[in-house]
Amino acid sequence: MADDCDEQVSDSAKKPVEEQQSKFIVAKLSALAVAMFVFAFWVMPPLYTLLCEVTGLRKVGGAYTPVANVVDESRLITVQFIASQNEAMPWVFKPEVFEMKVHPGQVANVAYLAENPTANTMVAQAVPSITPYNAVNFFHKTECFCFERQPLAAGESAELGMQFIVDRDLPKKVKTITVAYTLFDITDRTGNKDQEQAAQEQTKKPSLALR
């Protein structure tokens, strides 16, 4: 881009033209650098989330739209429950039953037991994962403790409930669905509000925090 200009301009006039061109190039390239930062910081994360949602990579169940509930009694699906704690999480956390057989379309309930053995009030958040991948869209949670944060006072324990329906459109191949919950300690990110709330709840009967 610069070479055809250079040949036409005389030597004395060349310097300012050259400088002007330099400024233009610098402006363009700086804009490119800024644009790439913006791209990395504000475009890539939402784009990634969008892509994961479109491809179903990160879908962990979703809102259930009710239809006439017909139970498909021709099939029996095994649903397995796994509970684990994130590395730094001292709570006891396990399902009441580890396995359950349900018909597609049937409303089922399962409870998890959580206990805070530490001397501090803590807040937890459960993050679910469902396998196999082709069952993800057909496992509907209608009520779940994982929808909310779980505050527990020191030494307190609670029964955490989940209600689910396996969709009648579940692919025929799928005979077993595994639901895994990982419990994260989010006390540090929740501030005092939740802890006060937890302290109040200590006096009441442990609530299931169901919605």
Binding site: A2, E18, V26, L29, M36, F184
Partner: protein, 516 residues
């Protein structure tokens, strides 16, 4: 108008001269090369035998991390910027860089960045220990407190690289001598033009990802934290979107250096000049669409694995064009084997080996076995050491007579080459085998099964390290007391840089040369 350099320290602090700044970049990168090299030797000393001998695991991890960061950002990249500063204006007939003051600044912020990074070694909790790829959550949730200093150091390095790149592009596009069209530029200039664009495109992405880390650590965001709705895999995508072009940033200028040296000592013009230019551009383009081949094992859909696998293999095509062009340049040439030529030929052979192991890694189904083993370590050291380091060394031997006006000692130079060549292969070739046998990388202890390969690697590493001390001695000796070099230096040399006296005067091309 013509005046010499200032006296004393202020010459170096306030200089805007491309030759001064080029020299400072080169010396700085050599210092960093030695520091990173000492860290590599600590790693190899610990791995000499199975079991824990010298350092504790946390310090071992700090060493692998700092070795990688210092070699990539402190040794290879500044060395190429130094070569560009020295040679690009001389090659295109320009009196200096387009933006001399910014040039000064882009160099002088580097020592501060690396002082900051190096100081983390002495902080409570130690230096970064999460690997040079600093994957979250290792670099966020589980990082030592010094990670914040690491983040700011990366910010400064990025700023330096971006400024340097803008400068190089402005110089190349704007300050070529009359008659030097784009397709008449030496290939070193071409490869740097394309590299500079890569740098401007991806260094801000690196800045972005470390900024996200900073916010996750200190400001309660959750970009990479699953508990807060983020995703650690996102980190890997953004990092490698920077990281893969970064690989080519470290190798494209090397292609340029080798393409300058081979024709000189084969006494033939470069074979397929324009295909070299297009191949460089093709590699640069492809580098943006292959990043996920670094993360085949992360749990991507099959379709994505296939796309990234095929795209990666496509890179072998333009790279193959280059290798064949270099071989064709030497074919039936009147070759002589001076030190720069030896390094350049070793580059062609060994870089090709590194390329082949890269192709093996690109095959997604087998990558599951190779992933995070010493096979990967062998691969990237085969492209970086004989690729980047050998080409820089070749360039230094090739242009040193022009810089300082003295010839180096050929016997010492060749001794350096053979020591380095042997050391390199003894160090890194056995890693292919230990890797294929399953030895994981970044682990201070290992199964007895791998003992022999590791002992050989460690011996080679100390040999390679010793060769670099000889290199330092050769360079200093040449500057102080070599025999006088001629203006052309090499019998077969051609190009504008050989039309100025040796040593190159402080100011060159005040009136632009005419290029026919």
């Amino acid at each position: 108008m013509a005046h010499g350099p200032d006296k004393g320290l202020s010459r170096w602090l306030f200089t805007t001269n491309h030759k001064d700044i080029g020299s400072m970049y080169l010396w700085f990168s050599f210092l960093m090369f030695l520091v990173g090299g000492v860290m590599a030797l600590i790693i190899r000393a610990e791995l000499f035998e199975p079991g824990m001998q010298i350092v504790d695991p946390n310090f071992f991890n700090q060493m692998t991390t700092m070795h990688g960061l210092i070699m990539v950002f402190g040794a290879v990249m500044p060395a190429f910027v130094g070569l560009a500063n020295w040679m690009v204006p001389l090659m295109i007939g320009a009196p200096d860089m387009a933006l001399p003051r910014m040039n000064n600044w882009s160099f002088w912020i580097l020592p501060f960045a690396f002082a900051m990074l190096g100081s983390t070694l002495f902080m409570e909790g130690g230096a970064p220990n999460f690997g040079w790829t600093f994957y979250a959550p290792l670099s966020t949730t589980y990082a030592p407190p010094s990670v914040t200093f690491f983040i700011f150091a990366v910010h400064i390095m990025g700023a330096s690289s971006i400024m340097g790149s803008i400068n190089i592009i402005a110089t190349i596009l704007n300050m070529r001598a009359p008659g030097m069209t784009l397709m008449k530029m030496p290939l070193f200039v071409w490869t740097w033009l394309i590299t500079a664009y890569l740098l401007i495109a991806v260094m801000p992405v690196l800045a972005g990802v470390v900024t996200m880390m900073l916010m996750d650590i200190h400001f309660g965001t959750a970009f990479f934290d699953a508990a807060g709705g983020g995703d650690p895999v996102l980190f890997q995508h953004i990092f490698w979107f920077f990281g893969h072009p970064e690989v080519y940033i470290m190798i494209l200028p090397a292609f340029g250096v080798v393409s300058a040296i081979l024709p000189t000592f084969a006494r033939k013009p470069l074979f397929g000049y324009s295909s070299m230019v297009y191949a460089t551009a093709a590699i640069a383009f492809l580098s943006f669409i292959v990043w996920a081949h670094h993360m085949f094992t992360v749990g991507m859909p099959l379709f994505a694995e296939l796309v990234f696998m095929y795209a990666t293999m496509l890179i072998a095509v333009p790279t193959g064009v280059k290798v064949f062009n270099w071989v064709a340049t030497m074919w039936k040439g009147s070759m002589t084997f001076e030190t720069p030529m030896l390094f350049a030929i070793a580059f062609v052979i060994l870089f090709t080996i590194g390329g082949f192991s890269g192709l093996m890694l690109a095959i997604a189904p087998v990558d599951f076995q190779y992933h995070d083993t010493y096979f990967v370590v062998a691969h990237f050291h085969y492209v970086l050491v004989p690729g980047a380091i050998f080409s820089i060394t070749a360039g230094v031997y090739y242009w040193l007579p022009k810089w300082c006006g003295h010839m180096y000692n050929e016997v010492l130079g060749k001794t350096h080459f053979w020591l380095a060549f042997a050391g390199l292969n003894i160090t890194f070739f056995p890693m292919h085998f230990s890797g294929l046998a399953g030895m994981p990388r970044r682990i201070p202890d290992y199964h007895d099964l791998f003992a022999d390969w590791n002992m050989i690697s460690s011996i080679g590493a100390f040999l390679f390290g010793a060769a670099q001390i000889l290199f330092l001695y050769i360079v200093i000796r040449t500057i102080v007391s070599g025999r006088k070099a001629t203006q052309e230096v090499w019998e077969g040399s051609h190009g504008l840089e050989w039309t100025v006296p040796s040593p190159a005067p402080y100011h060159t091309f005040d009136t632009p040369p005419e290029v026919k």
